[in-house]
């Protein structure tokens, strides 16, 4: 047993050092008049010294944003915070709105997750910055403009942009403007709530670097909220891990990275697929994330933990300070094998290799697709989503398609599926010319759909909410001429119990829904399965389950896959060959290992470098 003092940050000393923040026993409750109050965040506490960076990491819904909003006193209507939050000598919980307003902007500021909704949609950049400035600076026109220029320069935006309106800016620019506005009155503490989630890999990296630079140059404290452990490792001094509204572990970044002291943190680290090599088993955490109020009196992670004991379920394990600056809320930290890092296992053997065949299963030639905005409301705009793309997919081959957001990956998939008709080029599916589905007969279309099937990104809307799982699968089975008795078999194939047939989609978690979506595609026994970012919307702890499932299905059925993703690590694990898509063109292709290890196109290199950022196992 290690040192086990009860960690109560700030309890001993009520006054935080200047500029420091102490959060103590923070609870957030939803006061719902009908169903009684519900706890959303329970017993969160940490302290933050001036000039340092704290990362708050956790999967979706773990309470990160609520914690951030509690600190700045901007909880949504109906939610209340209790406990204590002290900034310097001031108590913020329960402080009158007037006092809080005086603090916001000057002492604490917040940058939000979605750059697309964060700024006044109709204001110019100049107006947004001007209104954020100190009133004294604001009044003097010349000084104000000078100041705005300086602030924009600080976040790397040219002065010319100042007179553009929000809706004319790209996401990355908006995020920068947001940061500049949040910093306009030089707060001591900046809370950045997932400032990069909505941005593509390249921009993400730039924004993170910018935040780091600003934090250091101003000696400001920073709370960086993210769901990506690697980002936190790269940018933060300390890290706090949240799960289902509670904090499970916190500690210095380095310590957490190399020696996680909570089974959940360890699981998260293992679940992230490595970028540099293929592993033969992706370690998923079984099960799904519970809601905060369901696990109030127990360890929130108990239901998914392999070290669980009865004591974990009778009471919530207290946070204990461990010797290396860690605190952890696990009863069994000592059983945790802190030292064994994951071993690189296996080679490329786990990935299906193509069967030699004379005719490629899919043959795409010079495919182009442009979108036009209709002219009734505005001027004609043409956007080339896909440009002269050519490639082939062989039998039983696993091909990856990578590229950042908007590069045309989904458009390509939709063309293959006949959901969009390409402007020029040709698509061959098996022997069939499937360029324009509307020209096919019903029978040909059926044949095409039995050749290729698709799994979409968003599991929450890819199932019809008004059909039971059984009905949805049965419909797919019948298309092939099968019988409903095949449904239980399909469910079993994707690792779901047979009684799920009676369930409605809303009663399923994201991972489970994605399994159903895969089962529905498999029901037609396609020769090619297109997976369009099948794990992007899922919690990290669940992603690996789906990837593992896909790998096993692939090897069991011998079908080809086209795996679309922006995550190079996933591509490494899932494919033997990769196509790189950039601005609608396929700019590079080749064996996965070769393209990732030694990219030739500058774009691919940029993608890879961005992905390497902070990756735990980066060389």
């Amino acid at each position: 047993m290690t040192n086990t003092t009860l960690h109560r940050p700030g309890c001993a000393d009520a006054v935080a050092p200047t500029g420091g923040l102490i959060v103590d026993c923070l609870d957030v409750r939803l006061l719902d008049s009908r169903r009684g109050p519900r706890t959303l965040v329970q017993n969160v506490g940490f302290d933050l010294a001036a000039g340092t960076t704290l990362g708050i990491v956790g999967e979706s819904g773990s309470g990160k944003s609520l914690t951030a909003k509690s600190i700045i006193g901007l909880l949504p209507k109906g939610l209340v915070a209790s406990g204590s939050i002290r900034l310097g000598q001031r108590e913020l919980v329960g402080a009158p709105e007037r006092d809080l307003r005086a603090l916001r902007g000057t002492s604490i500021s917040l940058v939000m997750q979605d750059p697309f909704t964060m700024l006044h949609p109709l204001q110019t950049v100049r107006a947004t910055l001007a209104e954020s400035l100190d009133p004294r600076t604001r009044r003097d026109r010349a000084r104000r403009d000078q100041e705005i220029e300086r602030r924009l320069d600080e976040v790397g935006i040219q002065p010319a942009i100042a007179d553009k309106r929000t809706f004319e800016l790209s996401g990355g620019m908006r995020q920068r403007v947001g940061i500049a506005a949040a910093l306009a009155r030089d707060p001591q503490l900046l809370i950045a709530d997932e400032p990069t989630t909505a941005l593509d890999a390249g921009t993400q990296k730039e924004v993170l670097a910018l935040l780091g630079r600003l934090q250091r140059s101003r000696g400001m404290s920073l709370i960086l909220i993210t769901h990506d452990l690697n980002v936190a490792f790269a940018a933060c001094d300390r890290i706090m891990v949240m799960y289902a509204g509670t904090m499970l572990e916190s500690g210095p970044s380095e310590a957490l990275k190399h020696a996680p002291r909570h089974p959940y943190t360890r699981g998260l680290l293992n679940a992230a697929p490595p970028l540099t090599h293929v592993v033969d088993r992706l370690d998923a955490i079984p099960g799904t994330v519970p809601a905060a109020h369901e696990v109030l009196g127990q360890c929130a992670f108990a239901s998914r933990c392999d070290l669980v004991v009865d004591a974990c379920r009778t009471q919530r394990p207290p946070l204990r300070r461990l010797d290396d600056g860690h605190t952890s809320a696990c009863l069994r930290t000592d059983q945790l094998d802190t030292t064994t890092p994951r071993e690189p296992r296996g080679g490329d053997a786990v990935i299906a290799q193509p069967r030699p065949a004379t005719v490629p299963l899919v043959k795409v030639e010079n495919l182009s697709k442009a979108y036009r905005s209709t002219a009734i409301t505005g001027r004609h705009r043409v956007f080339h989503a896909l440009h002269d793309a050519s490639f082939e997919i062989g039998e039983a081959e696993a091909v990856g398609l990578v590229g950042e957001s908007g590069s045309g990956k989904s458009t390509l998939a939709r063309c293959l599926m006949g959901l969009t008709t390409p402007d020029t080029g040709r698509i061959g599916l098996g022997g069939l010319d499937a360029t324009d589905f509307s020209k096919l007969s019903l029978q040909q279309r059926r044949d095409a759909y039995r050749t290729v099937q698709i799994v979409f990104q968003d599991p929450y809307s890819s199932l019809n909410p008004k059909l039971t799982i059984g009905a949805a699968l049965e419909e797919a089975v019948r298309v092939r001429g099968g019988h409903r008795t095949e449904v239980p078999g399909l469910l079993e194939q994707v690792g779901l119990p047979g009684d799920y047939a009676q369930r409605w989609p809303r009663a399923l978690s994201g991972g489970e829904r994605q399994r159903v979506a895969i089962a529905r595609a498999l029901a037609l026994r396609p020769r090619l399965l297109i997976c369009d970012e099948p794990v992007a919307a899922l919690d990290v702890s669940v992603q690996a389950q789906i990837l593992e499932l896909l790998r096993s299905v692939q090897s069991a059925t011998g079908m080809s896959t086209l795996f679309i993703t922006h995550d190079l690590a996933v591509v490494r694990q899932m494919t033997s060959r990769v196509l790189v898509c950039f601005e609608g063109r396929i700019v590079e292709s080749g064996a996965t290992s070769q393209v990732l290890d030694d990219p030739t196109h500058p774009y691919t290199r940029r993608l890879r470098d961005a992905a390497l950022l902070g990756a735990r196992d980066a060389a």
């Binding site: 940058v111 109709l122 809706f167």
Partner: protein, 315 residues
């Protein structure tokens, strides 16, 4: 932007043309022969019927008659009323003033009552005040203007006779006094409409990220409520006010009838009753024109408020 405007005007012109055609054909569909319809309540003698055939070119083919009528209508010449033999344009313009005043007043009632109440309801969403406002709005929408008008007449004309409840009065002051009750009767329903739309719009804005971000930067309350909340609510409010102006049209008919106001609404009912076809045709065209003008106005206002719409670029 120009393109959009031109498109709008083109559509408007098309609408007017279509309405004019339908309205013109309506006469031929009316029961009874064309002559008797155009005869009105005059004793029919063979000479008179012959006169009418000539006057209205009834022996020409339908399309020719329509084109001739359309050409005249384009010069605001809609012929003469069958009942009064007054020039239709004169008759309509003589009565348009009262209607316009009524509409302006009712619109004022709707806007000054509806917008603040809607904003208040959104600000207090879920609380008793919100529920009260919402319920009142539902009742207001469910109460047809003629029922409200009759109730007002009973209350302020019969029970507590404090306000005039008939006619339009003379002189500006007297006119205003005469229009208070009609404008209220019309305005209440419209205000209810505005309340609902404003509330929905404001609720949509109030939980937007940009509002939270503005507060997070410590912006003053006044600024948040004007520049942020109001400006972004303005667009839906403007379109709901436009809707109100259009809904006010049929509402005004009922109110004018109830309060015996000599406006175009009561003229419409009288002319329909008297089958005074030239007047009905003109009023229908003017109504369509009014609708088109309001819609275009709303469009222009939207363009002024929201530059995003100017080049059709969404977000």
């Amino acid at each position: 932007m120009l393109r959009r405007l031109l498109g709008r005007l083109g559509a408007a012109g098309l609408l007017l043309l279509l309405v004019s055609f339908l309205v013109f054909s309506l006469v031929s569909m009316a029961p009874g022969s064309l002559e008797t319809t155009l005869l009105g309540a005059r004793p029919a003698s063979p000479e008179l019927i012959q006169n009418i055939r000539v006057q209205y070119h009834l022996d020409d083919p339908f399309l020719l008659r329509y084109l001739r009528w359309l050409a005249d209508a384009a010069h605001l010449d809609f012929g003469r009323s069958i009942v009064t033999s007054e020039s239709v344009s004169d008759a309509v313009s003589a009565r348009a003033v009262v209607s316009a005043e009524l509409a302006v007043l009712a619109f004022g009632v709707a806007a000054t009552l509806g917008v603040p109440a809607g904003l208040a309801a959104a600000a207090w969403a879920g609380r008793a005040a919100d529920r009260l406002i919402t319920l009142s709005a539902i009742l207001g929408m469910s109460a047809p203007p003629f029922a409200v008008g009759t109730l007002l007449i009973y209350l302020f004309g019969v029970r507590f006779p404090v306000l005039p409840v008939y006619g339009a009065g003379d002189g500006p002051g007297d006119r205003l006094l005469h229009l208070i009750l009609p404008a209220t009767a019309l305005g209440i329903g419209l205000a209810a409409l505005v309340v609902r739309q404003t509330r929905a719009a404001a609720l949509g804005v109030l939980d937007q990220d940009y509002l939270t971000f503005a507060r997070a930067r410590g912006l003053s309350r006044a600024r948040i409520q004007t520049t942020y909340a109001l400006r972004n609510v303005a667009l839906p409010i403007v379109s709901s006010l436009g809707l109100v102006l259009i809904v006010a049209l049929p509402g005004a008919i009922l109110v004018e009838v109830v309060f015996s106001l000599p406006g175009v609404g009561s003229l419409m009912v009288e002319s329909v009753g008297a089958k005074d076809i030239p007047v009905v045709q003109a009023l229908a065209i003017f109504s369509a024109l009014y609708v088109v003008v309001v819609n275009t106005g709303v469009d222009l206002c939207s363009l002024l408020i929201d530059p995003r719409l100017r080049d059709g670029a969404a977000r």
